[in-house]
Each structure stands twice: as C-alpha cells, then as structure tokens.
Amino acid sequence: MWNDLFYLFLQAYEQFSSLPLSIEIALLFIFIAVVITLTSYCSILFRRYNAYVYRKRLAYITPIIEDMITEQVLLNENLGKGLPVEDIEFDQVAITDKIYKTPGVRQVVIDIIIRYRKNFRGEIGDLLRKLYIDMHLVEDSFKKLRRHTWEMKIKAITELQQMDISIADSTLLPLTNSNIQTLRAVSRNAYIQLSKNDPFKFFDIATEPILPWDQLDLFKIITTSKELSIPSFSRWVSYSTNKSVVSFCLKLIVYYDQQNAIPAVMELLNTKDHFFRANAINCLGKLSSEIPEETLVKIYGTQPLNCQVQILKALGRIGSGNYLEFLKQEFLNAKDFDIQINSARSIIRHNTHQSRLMIQELMLISTEEQQLIIKHCQNPLIKY
C-alpha cells in the first residue's frame, strides 16, 4: 500500500514538474491557501469546542460551588454570634472535596469568592477571605504570580488584592516598574493597598512614567483608602528624577494641602522644562499661600506664556491683594488674550472691596473689548 502511495506521489510530482513555471507557482499558491484555510477552520472549530466544553463544565460546577459558599459562609451558624472570624471553622469534608482539586475548578472557586467579596464586607467578607485561605487558594494565586506571562501575574495580583493578602515587597515592588503598562498600573495600585508600612515606596524606584490614566486610578485609591498613612510628598518633589512621579506628587500635595511642601515646590521654579514649571506654579497657586507670591511676580517677565498664565491664576487663587496693581497693569497693557482674561479673572477672584473698586475703574478706562472680557469674567456660571 505504501509503495502504491509513493508511486502515486512520484507520478504527481513528475506531472507537476513537467508543467510550465507559471502554472507551478499558481498551483503552489492554491495549495498553500487551501492548507491555511483548512488549518484556520480547524483551529476555530477546536477553540469553539473547547469553549463549549468549558461553558458546560462551568454550568455544572458553578451551582455546586455557590451552594458550598452559601452553606459554609452565608449561612454559617456561627455568624452573628460575636465569635472572631478566625475561630469560625468550616466543614472540612465540604471544602476538601475532591472536586476542588482540579486547577480549573479551583480557579472558578476563586472567581466566585471574589464576586461574593465584592458584594459583601464585614463578617461575611472576612469569612470569604478565610475560606480562600483555608482552601489553600492563596497558594494558587501565588503560583500564578510566579508565572512568566504578565496576564497571569495581573490575575494573581488582582486576586490577592481583592482578598487583602500581603505580597512581599521583593515580589511586588519590581513589578511596579515593569515595562508592561497594565502590569505596572495594577502592581502600583496593589502596592498602595497592600503595603502597610510604606505604601508609596514604589515612587522611589519608579523609572517608568505614571501615565495620566494610571494617575487617576492611583489618586482614587490613595484618596479613598482610609487606613493609608499619608507621607509628605515633598520628599519626591525634591529627589525624584521621574517627572511623572513629581507631577503626580504635586497633585497630591494640593489635595492634602501640604503647606510644608511649598519650599520643595518652589525649587521646581528653576527647572528648565516649562511645562513642568507651569505644573509647579499651578500647585503653588492652589496651596493659596502668600509665601511664593513675590518670587512668582519676580520671575513673571522671563517666563513663557503658559507659565505666565499660571502665575496670573496663582495670584488670583492666593488673593492676598498685594499684587492687584500688577494684575491691573497686565490686563491693561498685555496684547495677548490669555493674559488679559486671566488677569481680569484673578482681580475678580480676589472679591474684596479693593478689587471691586479696581474692576469699576477698569470698566471706565478700558477699551470696549477689554470691557467685554471683564463682563465675561464676572459671569459666575463660567468656571475659573
């Protein structure tokens, strides 16, 4: 039989080699296209079949897991009796059933426990965490953390974070500086939540940027975590070489109104990067302290437009009244619209007797266009 097959193949090859070159190439292309199409279809079918089997298994296993959790946690008879959660024991037969030995099923258990924990806190939330530990699922998560694929690492970090399980600094800290952006963001969020002693330590080693979207996430976590001890962010403003870390710290300094950071922020006024300098000026303005006022006015003439605008805004926010005359002169003499509008806004923002008199005076002596600017700035519905 093999000989026949070999003979057939040989014949086909001889026929093929006797064909003109163009036909040979065309046949080769057709052959490759057919093989690729068939492989793709087989691969799609195989994947679909696997997904179907997984869904079937999931549909079978999920109610069993839910029932186990309901019985062991939600309906645990020791709940509400004032017993410490650590002393509440589970039915060992139920939680060590052989069904929970398969890795796939263990992953489903983890996912379901996490879903429950997102919905329950208090005693039930703590008992779910205990179940996660007692079923040794925590070890599964740590195993995933040691895997090489970053998707697995993210999954592991998320699980451990949800379950409030500490991760060693030596494991998590390097991941906060990973060159994979998603892993970096997840690790940083987890580090802040899980590190009890120094949750901002990763700022020290961060060489990768904290992207604006990640900053939003981090900001939310920092400002909503109740037990977080807030350090003085001026530390990173002074020493960090990572501009995104410094920019982020400037925002945190404003949020926590860290007045003691003013000298460190003022140091940034000497930086060569004018976008960065504008951030620092913005921060100083929002801290509303009179300390940097004089320096800001002194450097005003040498600054690019974006920094000048920030200085004018800062003077309005600080609102000491010491530089009303400066603002007036800028409003009257500047050619740039941004300078004019921000000077006017800052004068109005002072909202003192003196500033109101100045506005009245400006309405008399200024041009028609400038009067329009003042009227526009006086509209309380337009956000400053």
């Binding site: 309901t70 709940l79 379901i112 879903r115 208090g122 939330g125």
Partner: protein, 128 residues
C-alpha cells in the same frame, strides 16, 4: 414576617441575599429586572422591596419611583442596594422615595437591621 421582593440582576448576589433573608425567616421573591418586578407586584403583596440600581431595561430608580406612584405599593419599605456611591445618585434615590440606601459591598447584619427597622417604622403588616 412580611414578603420581601428582591430585584437584582447579578445572579450570585441575588442567591446570596436571598439565602441570608430566608435564613432569617423571610419569604423572598426575586426578580432580575424592573419588568419582572412589576409583574410580581401585580400578583403578590410585599412589605419590603430591596433593589439594585443598575438593572437591565428599567433602572432601579425607575422601580423606586413607580412603587411610590402606585397606590398599592406607595407605603412599602424600599431599600436600595448599589455599588453606585456618588452623592447625586444617593440623593436622587431618597428623593424618589427610597427609605434606605446601602452601598455595596454590604454588611449582612446591616441589611437585616435595616429591614427590621423599616418593618417597625412603617408598621409593615406580617403576612402569614
């Protein structure tokens, strides 16, 4: 114990809350969206409604509002349980007629205490 209507689209949460309430002796009816909830209300009388805000087809706020508008349900106790925690939504829920607002993740004992408080405050009749 009064009948409780639980409206929640997350099946896990639905089962979980139901089992906690049933353990306490309440008779619990469940609905996965506002439409199902309205159908149940037309057939059964309830003392307490526990509803999520993010529901398919009809939002939880619409459910609350409709309950308060209808004569037969305007006096029932309404508890909103939601992961939405912004002050605007909470205020809106109260303005539309919610009695209590519990933010997820919830504490089971708080939910039970809230139900008991509503039963006492509103003098909700016990169905046998």
């Amino acid at each position: 114990m009064p009948n409780i209507l639980l409206v929640e689209d997350d099946e896990i949460m639905l089962k979980a809350i139901k089992s906690i309430l049933v353990k306490e002796g309440y008779k619990v009816f469940t609905a996965k969206d506002g439409k199902e909830a309205f159908e149940l209300i037309s057939k059964v009388s309830f003392g307490i409604l526990i509803t999520d805000l993010m529901l398919p087809h009809t939002s939880g706020l619409e459910v609350v509002s409709k309950m308060r508008d209808q004569e037969s349900t305007k006096n029932i106790g309404i508890i909103v349980v939601s992961a939405v925690g912004n002050q605007e939504t909470i205020t809106e829920a109260y303005q539309l007629g919610a009695d209590e607002y519990l933010k997820k993740p919830i504490i089971a004992t708080t939910l039970l205490l809230t139900i008991r408080k509503l039963i006492n405050d509103k003098n909700i009749k016990i169905v046998h």
